[in-house]
Every structure is written in C-alpha cells, then in structure tokens.
C-alpha cells in the first residue's frame, strides 16, 4: 500500500486558497445532496401516502391488523408525521393494543399538548383504563384545545363524549355543569339541542331539559321527540297544563307513543283532581276533595286487606292503623257543615296525601291515586 510523503508546508496564501476551493466544493456538494435528498424524500413521501391510503382503507374495513402494518410502513418513511402516528395509534386502539397506542399518542401529546384530536384519543384510552382524573384532564384539554378543522363541532363532540363517560360513572353534578357549559354555545341545530335536552333529562335536570326541548321546537315545530320531551319535562316539573299541551301534540303526531299518552292521561287527571288549583269553585273543590278522600280511603282499605290486617285490631303505633282511625274520624264530617271550612279541606287533603305516601308499598299507584301522589308532591315542593 502506498504511503504519502510530506512534500509541502502550508503557507498562508495556500491555506486561504485551499479553504476557498474547499468551501466552493462544499457548497456545490451541499446543493447536490440537497437536490438528491429532496427528490428522494418526495418519493418516500408519495410512498408513505400510498401506505397511508391502504391503512385508511384497511381501518375502514375493520382490518386493524393490516392497517397497523400499513401505517407503520408509512411511518418508516416519515417517522415524525403526526398524522401517521395518530392513525397508527387509532389502528392499535382498534386492535385492542392500548398500551402501544398510548405510547404513540403520548409522543404526539408531548409535542402538541393542546392538540384536540390527540387529547380525545388519550381520553378514550384513559376511559378504557378507568382513570377518572386523566380522562377528565384529556377531555378538557380537547374541549379547550386546538383543532385543525371544525373546532366547534369537535369540541362539542369531545364534551358529549365526556358527558357520556360521566353518565356511566353517575357523576350527575359534573354532567350538569358540562351540559350547562355546552348549551350556551350551541348553534341553532335542533338535533344538538335535542341531544343536550335528552342528556339533561337523563340527569333529572328537567328545568334545563325543558328549555332545550322548547328550543328544539322553536327551530323545528314538528319535532315529535322534542314535544314528547318537553311534555315529560313539564310533567316532572309539575307544570301539568303545559305538559298536557306538549303531550297532546306528541300523542297526536305519534299515536303509538304510550309513554306520552300515559303521562297525558295522568296530567289530565291531575288537572281534573287538584282541589288547590286557582279558579276552582267552592263546590268543585269540595267535590274534588271528596273524590280524593274516597280514592285514598279505598286505597287504604285495599292496602290493609292486602297486608292481612283487620281494621281496629292493629297496634295504636301502627301508622296504617292511625290513618284508618283518621279515616273513620273524617268520613262523617265530609257530609257536615264543617266541610265548607277551607282548613278542614286542607286537613282532608293532608290525610289523602299521607295515605298515598304510606301505602306506596302496597303497589304502584295508578289512575287517580297516582294523580293524588303527584298533586301531593307538587304541593310539598311548593311549600318547601
């Protein structure tokens, strides 16, 4: 092998010249390699897109295993591509490989902690792990995060997912706060209002639910579900006249809606049986009180019979026995002059409500009994 001999000692001029020549060569080589790499990378990018396309198709057709391989191949060409990483994470999640999916997502999250899509995906994985605090954190990151497209829609969708998660955990207060935050920014979309109204109804927030159902009806007058929902909400709120109005339209539009029909009947019965309604004449009130007393007495007797107890032979401490004694005491007075006394009417109705409450374990009240229960509850609520 040859060996080089030292033949030259550098001088300042020579060094400068050599440095200049080397700089020129370096710039030229740099440009050449830049051109080469640009072309090569664009070729790789097209291959990556091809692999990604295959992956998308595989994912859509449920072949998550193949999609994983496709997305991995795409990532081999462009390993920092967040879209490929995200889709790979989704494919891994679809395949049930949650830990692997999470590692990719965490990697993405570290780069873009405000990325809405990544946070939602991480939240879903946290849901799978039943990690409450992480789920809330990621969902809230997504709700207040950055979305590349349709930010409002995506944020709403993320919040709805969060609400579903909280509903499963029966975290009603949190659901309510999320829904209240959500309803403020809802666009005039009946479907969305209906969805939110249904969710309010699920957590027994009928006040907000009713408002949302009404909103739906304002946007879509013929929306039967909204009418039924508004009727039910009004019913639960004790606004029976309003409930009747909505339930009638719901039943008229959908005659098979038995739930609304039953509620309508009950609401009508409540309206027809409530002696405390304003604008009810004295005679009518007396009639209603008498009807209520008769119904309650019959319910009480049925209950005593069902329990196998003979009236007048029970212990004095027994509440049913006490009620029976009160019934015996009140019965004759209903035909006397004292019946005109509003206080007496009040005490009769107190007896009625107490009977309906105490006999609840003798079977679900129906018909007039159910109406009396509702009237009683409504009255208690008003007093409270």
């Amino acid at each position: 092998m040859d060996t080089a001999e030292p033949t030259s000692k550098p001088t300042a001029q020579r060094e400068a010249l050599v440095s200049l020549v080397l700089s020129v060569i370096a710039v030229a080589a740099f440009a050449a390699v830049l051109g080469l790499t640009t072309r090569f990378h664009s070729w790789q990018a097209s291959l990556a897109e091809t692999m990604r396309g295959r992956g998308e198709r595989d994912l859509q057709t449920g072949r998550a295993g193949r999609a994983i391989e496709d997305f991995r191949s795409a990532l081999a060409f462009d390993r920092d591509n967040s879209v490929y990483q995200f889709r790979l994470a989704q494919a891994l999640e679809a395949e049930g490989r949650f830990d692997e999916a999470e590692s990719y997502l965490i990697n993405l999250w570290e780069r873009q902690p405000q990325n809405g899509m990544v946070n939602v995906q991480l939240a879903r994985l946290a849901v799978h792990r039943d990690a409450m605090s992480q789920t809330l954190r990621y969902y809230h990151n997504a709700i207040y995060g950055i979305w590349d497209s349709q930010p409002d829609e995506n944020r709403r969708a993320a919040r709805l997912e969060l609400v579903e998660f909280l509903l499963q955990r029966n975290a009603r207060a949190q659901v309510q706060s999320e829904l209240i935050a959500m309803q403020a920014g809802l666009p005039p979309d009946p479907w969305l209002h209906l969805k939110v109204a249904e969710l309010f109804r699920k957590i027994d927030d009928y006040e907000n639910g009713f408002a949302q159902f009404r909103q739906v009806l304002q946007l879509d007058h013929g929306n039967v579900e909204a009418a039924a929902g508004a009727g039910e909400a009004a019913f639960e709120l004790g606004r029976y006249r309003t409930a009747v109005r909505y339930l009638e339209s719901a039943v008229a539009a959908n005659r098979k809606d038995e739930v609304s029909r039953n509620k309508l009947n009950t609401a009508n019965l409540v309206l027809a049986s409530n002696p405390f309604r304003p604008n009810v004449s004295m005679e009518e009130r007396k009639r209603r009180v008498q009807n209520a007393f008769r119904a309650a007495s019959a319910h009480l007797n049925d209950c005593i019979e069902a329990r196998g107890e003979s009236p007048g032979h029970g212990a004095a401490e027994n509440s049913i026995e006490k009620l029976h004694n009160r019934q015996t005491d009140l019965g004759p007075k209903l035909r006397g002059r004292t019946f005109n006394d509003p206080d007496f009417q009040e005490s009769v109705m107190d007896f009625v409500f107490e009977v309906e409450e105490q006999t609840a374990d003798c079977g679900s009240p129906t018909g007039l009994d159910q109406a009396l229960v509702l009237i009683g509850r409504n009255r208690e609520g008003a007093e409270r």
């Binding site: 092998m1 060996t3 550098p10 080589a29 830049l34 790499t37 081999a76 920092d80 965490i106």
Partner: protein, 586 residues
C-alpha cells in the same frame, strides 16, 4: 517537547509528560499547520456528513427496490433479495473492492497505525456501494461502521490531495472516522469517544480538537438533511427505588454473557470461513443472505437490515418477552452469518438491536417475577443497548454516552452505568480479547488497544528511584568542607542543592580537582560551572526519566510542591533494572 523552564522563580528544570515534537518546523509554521488542520477538520466533517447522507439514502433506496415499501417484507422476495444481493456483493468485493470486507473499524485503525493514514478512496466508494446494497437487501448489518470508514477514506483522500505531512495525514483518518460515525449515529460525543477508544486506541490531546470539530460539523450537516430527532422515541424513564438497580445489574450480567456468545460465534466462524477455497467466497454472502431470508420468511423479518424501527417498537412494549428473546437470539445468528461471510457492513446497529431485544426480554421477565418494579420495558431496552455495546464492542465509555445521546434522556444514567460496567466485566472475564482486537489478529495485524493499555502496568519514576547513596551537598558549602564530606563516602557522584534553588551533580574527582586548583575556600556553587539538572517527580512515567537520563548520571526526584525537598535519585541503571524486573515478572 520537554517543557524546559528556567528562571529565578523556578528553581528546577521540570520535566513534563511527553508531548508531540515541534522540532521539525519553526514554531510559526507548526502553529499555522495546527490551525489549518482544525479548519480542514471542519471540511472533513462536512464532506463526511454529505457522504453519509447519500449512504443512508442509498440504503433506503436499495431496501425499497429490493424488499418493497412494506415495513415487514413478505413472500419469496424476502428470501431472494438477500441471497442474490449477497452474490452480487461477493463478486464486487472479490473483483472490484477487495479491501471492503468487514466493518471498517479495523481497517481505519490499521490505516492509522500501519499505512500512515492511507485509505484508498476506492475503499470508501466500495464500502458505500456494497454496504448499501447488502444492508438494503436485508443482511443483518448496520450502516455506522461503514460510515466511519467512508469518512476516514474521504479524509485520507483529501489529506493526500493537499499533500499534508505524514504526521497530519496519519491523524486525518480518525478525524474522518469520527465525522462519519457521528453523522451515522447522530451522536457526536459517542463518535468522538468511540474513535478514541477503538480507532486511535489511546487518549491523545493533540487530535482531540480536530476529532471534536469534525464530529460536530458532521452532525450539524447531517441534521440539516435528516433531522435532529433522537433515533428512538424514548418512553418515560424513571428509577424510583434504588433497589431496582439490582434488576438492571441482572440485565448487565445477562448482556455480558450474550456479548460473549456473540463475539465467540464470530471469532470461531470467521477464520474458518476465510480459509475455505476462494470459489466459496462467491457463495458465502449469498448463503448467509439465504439463511437470513429464511429467518425473515418464517416470521421474523425484524432481524433483516439494521432494524432500528423494531428497536423503537420494542421500546414501546410491542413485543412479548418470548418474541424479544427470540429476536435477540436470531439477530445474533443473522449478524454472525452476515459478518463472517465477508459481507461489508457494520456491527453497531445489530449490537444495539440485540441489546434492546435482550433488555426488553429481561425487563419483561423481571417485571413478571417482581411486579413491584417500576421501570418500563422501554427503559430496559434502552439500558440493554448500552449493555451489549459495552460487552460486545468493549467500549465502556462510549456505551454510556451512546445511550444518553441516542435517547436524549439523561435520567437513565445510573442504571446504564451499573449495567454496562457489569456487562463489560463479565465479557472481559470470559473473553479476554475484545472483538475488534480479535478480528485484527485474525487478519494478521497487531494494533494498539485502549483496553490493553488500560490493563498495562504503568511504571513510574517512584518505582525505580532510591535514596541517595552519598551525602547531599549544598552549594553554599566551601569546596574544602565538601571535600572532607566526600572523602567519608564511598559514592563517586553527589547531588548538590543549588542556592536559591535547583539541583546539580558533582563527582568526587571534580571536588578533588577544584581543591587542587586552590579553590578550597570558595563556595561549591561559585566554583562549579552553572548547570542545572532537570528535576523529576515521583509520579512521572519512567520513560520521562529515560529521556533525560543522558544529561547526568544521576537525576534528582523532588516533591512537586517543594522543589528543594529531595524524594530520591534515579540513574540510567535504575531505570533499566526496573524494566528488566518487569520483564522477568511478566
């Protein structure tokens, strides 16, 4: 250059450790060449990086062309591509590029120590083509060692073109090697350390600046084209309880054994295949490729090529421990087959692959047995890479920094140091010769090794010095008084402590002569010709004494903090006796 300093404040000519000689040229010439060499190192870094970028593209292109765009190739292609590519590579190696066999590390080292830094450009070109083709086709080899040789080859060619001195030309090879490796690894510190540990084979301050400059400039250029992301996505790494270091220690021991198996496999097969008839060398890479293709065909395509993607996957827990263990074992087999067949390509990437898989497998098992362990599988993979690097390549310092650099995570340093040290110790105990030294010796060469240097007993001045035989004289004493003291001693030569500082010697005859000349009343310092001796210190290497011993039959060994305090004396005979003693002990 010896640092000869003499002044009133410096009472003694001190002797420093040896440094490079500048005697050839006047100082300004030497300084200018040093400066130019540094500038040249930057250009070498740039050119090497550009070459390595092209090399990486060539590998990717070959892979796409031969194995297709899917990450896990399938079908007959997976068998045919490495087999046929192996045959093509064999033809190229045997007929066009006969010097490109192997990884390239040894060849670069040989260029430095045997061929005065000469590496033909043809070697670099051949390495580029054959390695890219082989790795792209799925041979279980990596691009780092070839990149190292490509960089060294470019540097050597540039040095020759510029007609640099032999000394500089010799140093250019490691400078280029560091640049090539840094670009391939995206890790400048590891590249510098590896070149020092494995190519230069000794710590040399003279070249360190150039190596660092070339490595840094190379990495900067490479990142311009290929990005600056770490090679792997590193999962969360943590060491919560110090007791968990035991788990990493166990990994270090397992890795040490695996490294020995790997090294012995190569060490055993390589010479046996080399001595087979020449015609078989046309087939050896092809057969190796066929076997690797079969491994890929039966379900383990991960062992094909460098395998970085799969290291990444292993780090993120995407394999079971059984798969990881299987991949580690098959990669050892595949890499051994590729390497011993003479296919050009490097061992860095396979070493990292095996280490990662082994680490992952051990980590998995440990977590099953001890569920309270908090380290993720990814952490074990990461530590495993360093473990095998330390155990197989026997570059312990590089192994630590390599893990830190490729991961970009410094929180793992303690487990890495513990595991790597154990792997290194186990490997060294079971296999005394490091793999690169073994390959060098199989090629009939004997090159310096940093590991051997570390093992060597370093003789120091304190090992050979002894107390002065005669009295130590003072230059303020009169010649008459000195003569009386000399007469009482049997020694012929005496140390004289000069005033205000420094040492010299005087012989019995000189003292007698001065007295005979009527200088008995004069002080010895006045009567003696002024000649200060160089002073040695006990901790200096013995060779430092040897280089100055000709100036006087006796040299003083003084305390570093007090040059007037004599620790002992040393003579040429003392030095020679010490060396003879060492030889006898050996």
């Amino acid at each position: 250059m010896s640092a000869a300093v003499s002044s009133a404040d410096t009472p003694c000519d001190t002797v420093a450790t040896p440094r490079r000689s500048l005697r050839r040229w006047p100082f300004e010439f030497a300084f200018r060449e040093e400066r130019f060499f540094l500038v040249l190192s930057v250009f070498i870094g740039i050119f090497s990086a550009l070459a390595v970028v092209c090399f990486r593209l060539a590998i990717d292109w070959s892979r796409l062309w031969l194995l297709g765009p899917r990450l896990s190739p399938s079908g007959l292609r997976v068998i045919l591509a490495p087999s046929l590519a192996g045959i093509v590579v064999a033809i190229l190696v045997l007929h066009a590029f006969p010097t490109v066999r192997g990884s390239g590390v040894n060849q670069t080292k040989a260029a430095l120590y045997i061929y005065n830094g000469y590496i033909p450009l043809r070697t670099g070109v051949g390495k580029f083509i054959t390695s890219a083709w082989a790795i792209g086709a799925g041979h279980s080899l990596g691009p780092e060692d070839p990149s190292l040789q490509i960089g060294a080859s470019l540097a050597s060619a540039l040095g020759r073109r510029l007609k640099l001195s032999r000394e500089k030309l010799r140093l250019l090879a490691p400078v280029g090697a560091a640049a090539g490796l840094a670009a391939a690894f995206n890790a400048p510190i590891s590249a510098v350390l590896f070149v020092i540990e494995e190519v230069i084979g000794r710590w040399s301050a003279g070249i360190l600046g150039s190596v660092v400059l070339s490595a840094v400039s190379s990495v900067v250029v490479m990142r311009w084209f290929l990005g600056s992301e770490p090679m792997f996505r590193i999962p969360a790494v943590q060491l919560i309880r110090p007791q968990e270091l035991l788990a990493y220690a166990a990994l270090g021991i397992v890795g040490g054994f695996a490294a020995v198996i790997f090294a012995r496999g190569i060490g055993f097969l390589r010479p046996r295949l080399k001595v087979l008839p020449r015609w078989t060398q046309y087939l050896q890479p092809g057969i190796a490729g066929l076997m690797i293709g079969l491994i890929g065909y039966v379900g383990f395509p991960q062992v094909m090529g460098a395998g970085y993607e799969y290291i990444d996957e292993a780090m993120h827990g995407q394999f079971t421990w059984k798969t990881l263990a299987m991949l580690a074992a098959l990669k050892i087999l595949a890499t051994t087959l590729s390497f011993v067949s003479g296919t050009p390509g490097g061992m860095f990437a396979p070493t990292l692959f095996i280490g990662a898989m082994l680490g992952g497998a051990v980590g998995h098992v440990e977590r099953i047995v001890f569920p309270y362990l908090t380290g993720s599988v990814g952490t074990y993979c990461l530590v495993g890479m360093g473990v095998l690097f330390a155990g197989f390549l026997r570059a312990p310092m590089t192994s630590v920094f390599m893990v830190l650099e490729v991961s970009g995570n410094y929180s793992i340093i303690v487990p890495v140091i513990v595991a790597n040290t154990l792997a290194y110790v186990v490997s060294r105990a079971l296999e005394p010769t490091p793999i690169f030294d073994l390959l060098t010796r199989q090629d009939g060469l004997e090159l310096p090794s940093l590991e051997e240097q570390r093992e060597e007993t370093i003789l120091r001045v304190e090992d050979a010095m002894h107390a002065p035989v005669g009295p130590v004289l003072d230059s303020d004493e009169t010649v008459e008084h000195v003569n009386q003291r000399v007469q009482l001693s049997s020694a012929n030569i005496f140390l004289v402590h000069l005033s205000p500082g420094g040492w010299t010697t005087v012989t019995r005859d000189t003292v007698a002569r001065l007295k005979g000349e009527g200088k008995g009343e004069l002080s010895l310092g006045t009567a003696l010709p002024s000649q200060r001796l160089p002073c040695l210190h006990p901790d200096l290497p013995l060779e430092a004494a040897l280089r100055h011993i000709h100036e006087s039959p006796l040299l003083p060994v003084v305390h570093r903090a007090d040059f007037g305090r004599l620790e002992g004396v040393i003579s040429q005979q003392d030095v020679l006796n010490r060396y003879k003693l060492v030889e006898r002990e050996a």
